[in-house]
C-alpha cells in the first residue's frame, strides 16, 4: 500500500529536514497509528502520501505507484483511490450532509443514479441515516466528522488517510469515531491515522509508527502511544 525507501524531505528555504531517511512499509488491510509531537514530521509524511509534496530524496510508493514518476495530470486518478479525513472536518457549510458526500462523487463524474444509490448507503454505514438534509452547522462535532468519513469512504478507497480525526472531539465521541474507522478497516481498507490521542492508541493496540524530529524512532506492532519511562 505505502512504501517509503530512505525518504527525506527538506522544504524550500529551510535547512532542517522535515523527514530524514525514513523507510517503512504499510501492507494492505493494516491499521497504522502515526504518532509524534508537533513538528515531528507526521503531517509531512501524510502530505507525501497524498502527493501534496514530493520528497527530496528516496522513493515513495503508494498503491504500487512511484509518486516521483507520477505525472501531475495522473495525480487526481491516484487520489480517487485514497480517502482523507482531517481534524477540521473540511465540510462545505452551505451544502447539506447528503450534498457534501455527493460532492466527492460529482467532481469525479459519477452518474446521478450511482450517487443516489451510494450516498444513503454510506451515511447509514457511518450512523447518520435520516440526517441527509441537515446542514453541517446543525450537527455536533462527532457527527460532522462522520460526514467527513462518509465523504472519504463513499468512493470505496483502498487507503484511508486520517490526520488527527479526533483532535477536536471529546473522548467519548472519539471512541465512536474510532469504532467507525475500525469497521472501515475491517472491510479491507488500509487506514493510516496520525494522532495525539494517547488513550485511543493504547486501547486499540494497533501498529504504531513514531516519528521524532523527522526520524522514524519506533515501529511497533500492537503498540502503545509512548514508552512508559
Amino acid at each position: 500500500m505505502i512504501r517509503f525507501d530512505n525518504v527525506s524531505k527538506v522544504y524550500p528555504k529551510q535547512t532542517r529536514p522535515a523527514l530524514r531517511d525514513v523507510s517503512l512499509e504499510v501492507e494492505k488491510g493494516e491499521f497504522v497509528f502515526l504518532v509524534g509531537s508537533s513538528g515531528s514530521g507526521k503531517s509531512t509524511f501524510l502530505r507525501l502520501v497524498l502527493r501534496e509534496e514530493r520528497c527530496s530524496q528516496g522513493q515513495v510508493h503508494v498503491l504500487g505507484k512511484d509518486l516521483a514518476r507520477l505525472s501531475n495530470w495522473k495525480v487526481p486518478q491516484m487520489r480517487r483511490q485514497l480517502g482523507t479525513v482531517f481534524q477540521d472536518f473540511r465540510l462545505l457549510p452551505n451544502k447539506t450532509v447528503a450534498e457534501n458526500v455527493a460532492f466527492a462523487q460529482e467532481v469525479i463524474g459519477k452518474s446521478r443514479g450511482e450517487i443516489r444509490k451510494s450516498v444513503p448507503q454510506v451515511l447509514d454505514l457511518v450512523g447518520l441515516g435520516g440526517k441527509e438534509e441537515r446542514m453541517p452547522g446543525e450537527l455536533s462535532g462527532g457527527e460532522q466528522q462522520r460526514v467527513a468519513i462518509a465523504r472519504a469512504f463513499v468512493n470505496r478507497p483502498r487507503l484511508l488517510i486520517a490526520d488527527e480525526p479526533t483532535g477536536n472531539l471529546d473522548p467519548q465521541t472519539s471512541v465512536g469515531i474510532m469504532k467507525l474507522l475500525d469497521r472501515i478497516n475491517r472491510t479491507g481498507t488500509t487506514v493510516v491515522m496520525a494522532t495525539h490521542d494517547q488513550n485511543i492508541v493504547d486501547q486499540m493496540r494497533k501498529r504504531v509508527i513514531e516519528l521524532e524530529k523527522g526520524r522514524l524512532v519506533r515501529d511497533q506492532a500492537r503498540g502503545v502511544y509512548g514508552y512508559q519511562h
Partner: protein, 305 residues
C-alpha cells in the same frame, strides 16, 4: 463532467463577485468596441482611397459632352482625339513625369462603381457622363504646379487636380484618430486583463475550501479550473455582446439614421453593414478567448492542482 454542476458553480461565482464581474464586462465592452471601431475606420480609409489613390499624384480631367454645355473651362466643346494626343505627347516630354495612364469613360465608370457601389449618386450615372482623364505619376510628388500651369486652361482640359495632396491631409487626420483609438483600446485591454486576473484570483481565493476538497477527492485539474475559466469567459462574452451592440448602434445612428452622415455627406462613401457584420464574429471570439486565456494562466499560479 456534469454540465449542471459546472453551470451552477459558474452562477454562484459570478454573483458572489458581482462588482468585479461588472467591471470586467464594462472594460471588455469598451476595449472591444474601440477595437471594432478602429478596424472599421481602417476599412473606411481604404475605401475612400479608391482605385487611383495609391497609383497617381495628379489627374488631368478632360471635357466631355455635358461639360461642354455647363463648364466655362470647356466652352470650346468636348475634348478631341488630336487634343488628347497632344496632351499625351506633351506629358511624355516632361521630365517631372514618371508615368502616364489614360482612363477612358468606360473605365472611369467602372472604377466609380467599384468605389461608390450602390450609393444613390452612382446609380443615376451613365458612362458618357464620366470624364476621360490622364492619371500622372510624378517623380517628385511636390511638382504638382508644373503640371497644373502647363495644362490648366488648355482646350479640352476641364481641370487639373492634385488629388493626393487634398486627400492626404484628411487621411492623415483619420490615421491619427485611428492610432488614438488603438491607443485607448490597448490601455482598456490591459485594464480588462488586469481586472480579469484579479477577479479570478479573488474568486479562486473565496472558493479555496471547495477547490481544496475537490483536489482531495481526486477531481481533475480541468474539472477544478473549468468553473473559473467559464466564469471569465461568460463575463467576457457579455462584454463582447455589448461591444457588438455599440458598433451596430453606431452604424445605425451615426451613419444610416440619426446623425445620418451618409445623407449629409453624400460624396463620401461610408462603410456599409457588410463591413460591420464581418467584424462582429471577430469581436465575439476575442471577447471569450481573451478572458478564458487570462483566467487559465492566472489559475496556473493561484490554484494549486
Amino acid at each position: 463532467m456534469r454540465a449542471q454542476f459546472v453551470l451552477s458553480e459558474i452562477g454562484v461565482g459570478l454573483r458572489r463577485n458581482l462588482t468585479m464581474t461588472f467591471a470586467v464586462i464594462v472594460s471588455v465592452a469598451l476595449s472591444l468596441a474601440l477595437f471594432g471601431g478602429s478596424l472599421l475606420m481602417s476599412d473606411q480609409v481604404s475605401q475612400m482611397k479608391g482605385y487611383w489613390y495609391e497609383k497617381v499624384n495628379v489627374s488631368i480631367f478632360l471635357c466631355n459632352k455635358s461639360d461642354a454645355e455647363s463648364d466655362p473651362n470647356c466652352a470650346k466643346g468636348a475634348v478631341t482625339t488630336e487634343q488628347k494626343n497632344q496632351i499625351k505627347s506633351d506629358l511624355n516630354k516632361m521630365s517631372v513625369v514618371d508615368d502616364v495612364a489614360y482612363e477612358s469613360q468606360d473605365e472611369a465608370y467602372k472604377h466609380y462603381k467599384e468605389q461608390f457601389g450602390d450609393s444613390p449618386l452612382a446609380s443615376s450615372l451613365t458612362p458618357d457622363q464620366m470624364q476621360e482623364s490622364y492619371r500622372i505619376k510624378l517623380k517628385d510628388p511636390e511638382k504638382y504646379q508644373v503640371i497644373a500651369s502647363a495644362f490648366n486652361g488648355r482646350d479640352g482640359v476641364q481641370s487639373v487636380q492634385d488629388q493626393k495632396g487634398i486627400l492626404d491631409s484628411l487621411f492623415r487626420l483619420l490615421g491619427y484618430l485611428n492610432w488614438a483609438a488603438r491607443g485607448v483600446m490597448a490601455v482598456m485591454l490591459i485594464v480588462a486583463l488586469l481586472l480579469i486576473v484579479n477577479t479570478v484570483r479573488v474568486s479562486a481565493f473565496s472558493r479555496r475550501r471547495e477547490t481544496g476538497i475537490m483536489r482531495l477527492v481526486g477531481a481533475s485539474g480541468f474539472y477544478i479550473q473549468a468553473p473559473f475559466i467559464m466564469e471569465a469567459a461568460v463575463a467576457g462574452i457579455i462584454g463582447g455582446t455589448i461591444a457588438c451592440a455599440f458598433l451596430i448602434l453606431g452604424q445605425y445612428f451615426v451613419i444610416d439614421n440619426g446623425v445620418s452622415l451618409s445623407t449629409n455627406l453624400p460624396l463620401i462613401n461610408f462603410v456599409g453593414w457588410d463591413a460591420v457584420l464581418t467584424k462582429l464574429p471577430l469581436i465575439l471570439a476575442a471577447s471569450f478567448l481573451m478572458p478564458a486565456l487570462a483566467a487559465f494562466f492566472t489559475l496556473r499560479k493561484y490554484l494549486k492542482v
